[in-house]
Amino acid sequence: MEMLSVQDWVRAYDGSKPSVEVYCQTRDVVQARVESLRSSLTQHGWSETQTSLITAIIGELTSNAFDHNIGQWPDVPGCWFEFSNNHDQISVTIADRGQGVRSSLERVRPGIDDIQALEIAFAEHVTGRAPEKRGNGLKFVMNVLRTLDEARFEYLSGSTMLNYSTQTDSQKDIASLISHSAGIVIRGVYTTLQIQKSI
């Protein structure tokens, strides 16, 4: 049987469970894999600072899949998580078929569109889990990315994407990083991240 790609999985109308190598149905499974990523960075000689920051942002991004969808999964619960570490560069993919950013934030900001939803998620102290006072996770991710020497980050939800590269975007504000994702519609959230080891 042909392996389902992550892009196909997050765009499909009907959900199916991914292969066990990448599928994390529960929070404890993905946490164990994030810990494995951390060990991999340490073993490949990444600095303590980079290892700590990368583990933290991957931890935030994977936690979001569960925090905002628990009890709300439209079909397949959990997330897709995979990473590769070729010594000097780490690549990470995280995806879920949850309710997505706009649907989550619409409870506190009715009537917003996909673009506004990403702007709020990345720039404001607001969470779909109101009245809980939270909403720091994605701001933290951007704060960390802006400190790294070389990183690329894509975050897609609905018909919208945030695209960030340290080489071209380090001085840009959040709004200028967000655009429509050219006909691609993501169910839930789809994130890719590539980070180069600092010398």
Binding site: R38, E48, T49, A56, G59
Partner: protein, 91 residues
């Protein structure tokens, strides 16, 4: 009194873990009464996220005033960035 946060683990990431840690601290580690200053020492923590910290602090502050709590960040980059992000979004 000083509370060494590494006692809750070196990698502090998820919301449920943050809440659980705060409930355990309130039950077993922190004084039940009085206004003694409480220092949260993150010196030996390897990874911290805002989600864990938000949950820990909000659970703690259900019983303790914020003014009673002092934070020692230490040198870890994710601890420092977590505190910076929380300061930026709450002030």
């Amino acid at each position: 009194m000083k509370l060494s946060m590494e006692k809750f683990g070196n990698v502090l990431i998820s919301r449920p873990a943050g809440r659980e840690a705060a409930l355990a601290a309130l039950a077993y580690s922190l004084p039940k009464e009085g206004d003694e200053a409480i220092e949260l020492d993150f010196s030996n923590v390897d990874v911290l996220t805002p989600s864990w910290m938000d949950e820990f602090m909000q659970t703690l502050m259900e019983r303790l005033p914020k003014s009673q709590i002092k934070i020692t960040e230490g040198e870890n980059a994710s601890v420092q960035m977590t505190m910076k992000t929380i300061r930026e979004t709450t002030h």
